[in-house]
């Protein structure tokens, strides 16, 4: 990440692949496959949000789904009330971002760190989950949107062209718009990470004390990183809500938060492509396992996760990258030592 983004060939390759998929896929694939890939695109945005704050800000959130769910519910409630989806999409970014600032302020100015920070984010997500599950009765409505408790909110409007609420997107167009979101967010994050701001974040991740002795306001920096991650997760939530046309408390659940952790972990902490690859791979696997009714899918998924952690502790992307860059020797030398972003300092 040291050299400018514009001089990194990998950056151009990734964007080119993204654009190619965005324009070619709807022409070449059938409707069902397009809808499947749309799901990976949405969840990849969610994975990116955690990949960014964890890999480039050293903030480990066990409750990233709180933002995902907040964005999803914001979008659902706002779009059902407004009948349009443009402003709700913006709100789904703004409200989780504001919440991220507040929660970040609460945590970082309280000097919470590592596991304790993780637990606070987990607890916040759990509170959300408890409360949203409790909204089954008709008294829990915001405008014309019933929150619906465990069953969630059905009939969430499909995305439409801004300004014209009658111009619904068909699944192919929705896929292209979402792919566009993913590419824009990826580019924005790459530039952000390479900026002065991003370098300070990485500096803090590497050594918090040193950064603060150098005069950087560590706490403020972390709050901003955390809030940006929250906002991106919020957008992912909104995309999820409109893609599925329903949203339920599962979007805030511990399972959802943990899934994001696993994707980032499997793909590789400290990269942006890693979380995307981890997400696609594991989601695809979950889906495939459900089509076999011989073995218990959950047991197999668990076994695969364990093996992944034991066999590829650094994640897929960093492992492949070092294989490609330095060849076997380098890999062998580095193997077994953890990279700094991954191990949480005690």
């Amino acid at each position: 990440m040291e050299k400018p983004v514009t001089r990194d060939p990998g950056f151009y390759v990734m964007v080119a692949i993204g654009l190619a998929v965005m324009f070619a896929a709807p022409l070449m694939l059938d409707l069902f496959t397009i809808m499947q890939i749309t799901q990976y695109v949405v969840l990849s945005v969610f994975a990116l949000s955690l990949g960014y704050i964890w890999g480039f800000g050293g903030i480990l959130s066990f409750g990233q789904a709180a933002f995902f769910g907040l964005g999803a519910y914001t979008f659902a409630v706002a779009s059902i009330n407004m009948g349009s989806t443009t402003i709700p999409m913006v709100l789904a970014f703004i409200i989780p971002t504001i919440f991220g600032v507040l929660l970040g302020y609460f945590m970082f100015y309280g000097r919470l760190s590592d596991v304790y920070l993780g637990v606070v984010t987990l607890v916040v997500a759990l509170i959300f989950w408890k409360l949203i599950n409790h909204t089954a009765g008709p008294e829990y409505s915001i405008g014309s949107a019933r929150l619906g408790g465990f069953n969630g909110i059905p009939s969430i409007p499909t995305l439409h062209i801004p300004g014209d609420p009658t111009a619904w997107l068909d699944p192919g167009q929705m896929f292209q718009v979402f792919m566009g979101f993913l590419i824009v967010i990826y580019i924005a994050l790459r530039f952000l990470i390479a900026s002065d701001f991003g370098r300070v974040s990485i500096g803090i991740r590497e050594n918090e004390t040193r950064a603060s002795l150098l005069g950087y306001d560590v706490r403020k920096q972390k709050v901003v990183v955390f809030a940006i991650g929250g906002g991106i997760a919020g957008i992912a939530g909104a995309m999820w809500a409109t893609y599925q046309a329903f949203i339920d408390p599962n979007s805030v659940s511990m399972e959802m938060s943990a899934k994001a952790l696993v994707w980032v972990m499997a793909g590789g902490v400290g990269t942006l492509v890693g979380p995307i690859i981890g997400c696609i791979l594991l989601q695809w696997l979950t889906l495939q396992l459900g089509t076999v009714d011989v073995v218990n899918s959950i047991a197999v998924l668990g076994a695969i996760m364990m093996i992944l952690v034991l066999a590829l502790p650094r994640g897929i992307v960093p492992t492949v990258r070092s294989l490609m860059l330095g060849g076997y020797f380098l890999w062998k030398r580095n193997h077994g030592t953890t990279i700094p972003g991954k191990a949480v300092k005690e």
């Binding site: 599950n133 089954a136 059905p154 459900g290 959950i298």
Partner: protein, 411 residues
């Protein structure tokens, strides 16, 4: 209301786009088997309910194939495991409708899962059977709903309990859609029968410790407790109730216990004895169809660790009724099948006589009240030909065939 219908209209026009995109695939779907989709949770939190449903589902299909198939073709099940996860429900439903192009789908367990997949099948015109007892109110021409609703079960259970035990009722229910609606029905029926609900408490689905409630109920001194608790965590209530020695003090009735076919086995005999429930099917039902059915199930699954319950038996009914309609209509197209199914034909099923109400596409069926003794439900009373009166209040598919909604019946 106008606003809502405008949105529905826009939505359907939006979906027209999707339909155009899908057309070339429809043409391709000429296969030599008839495909029937099954969506039951085979792992995760709901597997105790989903596994028996799926086994009975497969048994019913085997039966059809052994008898030579349908329309000269074999029936091929396409089974997915949604792993008790709503997002997977939505994905597999899309997969069944668009990729596998099945002729009909059976499944969905919770109302949440049904409301996830029902709009998908409606959108892609994939015929859908929902076979679980639920809170009532689905009004969708594309769906046949065979399980019981509160007007069929709760309406019978409440007067039965009030006659036996008294007029003061304490309701405990699961804190989600089903629990809230059922609790509302309980209140209505109790009041209609001149009684009083002294307290209604809701519990999140993950609560398993009920010490506080057991004490609270004792303080309130009701004549009986009505439980609409759902799921394995909530089984803790019945245990802790028995452990406090309350079984001999205040009787308990339930709208859910026994629905899935494993609750009565999870509780020991002492804990479960005396709990009364009402469903459209119990193993005890004494008719030749049921006897033959149970023998067949026992032969096919000798190691099964579940009891036949309403939702599994109804799954069997669904496959048989659909197959009967296909044979009758000579096609698997939805509309001719619906015509046969809603023609007033009465089906002789293990549960008794079943027919489909053309107004709601729900079942008019025999309903039973039974009491748990030594892990087995003993039938106390039967109510033939009970209509889904609750859904009939809000839904008329003969008048409004385009209805596509889950009404929450307000009382």
């Amino acid at each position: 209301m106008t606003k809502l219908s405008r949105r529905n209209f826009l939505r359907s026009t939006g979906m027209a786009g999707a339909a155009t995109l899908a057309t070339p695939l429809v043409a391709r779907a000429q296969t030599d088997t008839i495909k029937i989709g099954g969506l039951h949770d085979l792992s995760g939190a709901l597997d105790a309910v989903g596994v028996p449903m799926n086994q009975v589902f497969k048994l019913a299909i085997d039966e059809i194939n052994e008898a030579g198939g349908l329309l000269g073709k074999m029936v091929e099940p396409v089974i997915y495991d949604p792993q008790s996860n709503m997002s997977l429900y939505s994905q597999y439903a899309t997969q069944l409708a668009l990729k596998d192009r099945v002729d009909v789908v059976m499944g969905g367990i919770t109302s949440a899962s049904r409301e996830t997949i029902r709009p998908i099948f409606h959108r892609y015109n994939t015929f859908y059977f929902y076979n679980t007892q639920y809170e009532g109110g689905v009004c969708d021409r594309n769906e046949i709903t065979l399980g019981t609703t509160p007007a069929q079960t709760v309406a019978r259970l409440i007067p039965y309990g009030m006659n036996l035990y008294g007029k003061k009722v304490y309701t405990i229910a699961a804190d989600y859609n089903y629990g809230h609606i059922t609790a509302a029905w309980v209140k209505r029926y109790v009041e209609e029968n001149g009684g009083e609900v002294i307290e209604t408490e809701f519990f999140p689905l993950d609560v398993s410790q009920f010490g506080a409630t057991v004490s609270k109920i004792q303080g309130a001194k009701p004549d009986f407790v009505l439980s609409a608790l759902v799921g394995t965590s909530h089984m803790g209530f019945y245990r802790q109730w028995a452990a406090a020695g309350m079984k001999s003090e205040i009787p308990v009735m339930s709208t859910v216990l026994g629905a899935g076919g494993s609750d009565q086995l999870i509780l020991t005999a002492e804990e479960g004895n005396g709990i009364t429930a009402s469903f459209g099917y119990f193993e005890e039902i004494d008719n030749p169809t049921n006897k033959a059915f149970l023998e067949k199930v026992a032969a096919a699954y000798p190691d099964k660790d579940w009891v036949m319950s309403e939702i599994s038996e109804v799954t069997y009914e669904a496959v048989r009724m659909w197959a009967d309609a296909v044979a009758d209509a000579g096609t698997t197209e939805r509309d001719p099948l619906l015509e046969v199914l809603t023609s007033g034909k009465t089906y002789d099923m293990p549960a008794g006589k079943v027919k489909i109400d053309p107004k709601t596409h729900h079942a008019i069926r025999d309903v039973y009240i039974a009491e748990l003794q030594d892990q087995v439900f003993e039938i106390k009373e039967a109510f033939p030909d009970s209509p889904p009166a609750d859904t009939q209040m809000v839904c008329d598919l003969v008048e409004n065939p385009d209805s596509n909604k889950h009404f929450e019946i307000s009382l």
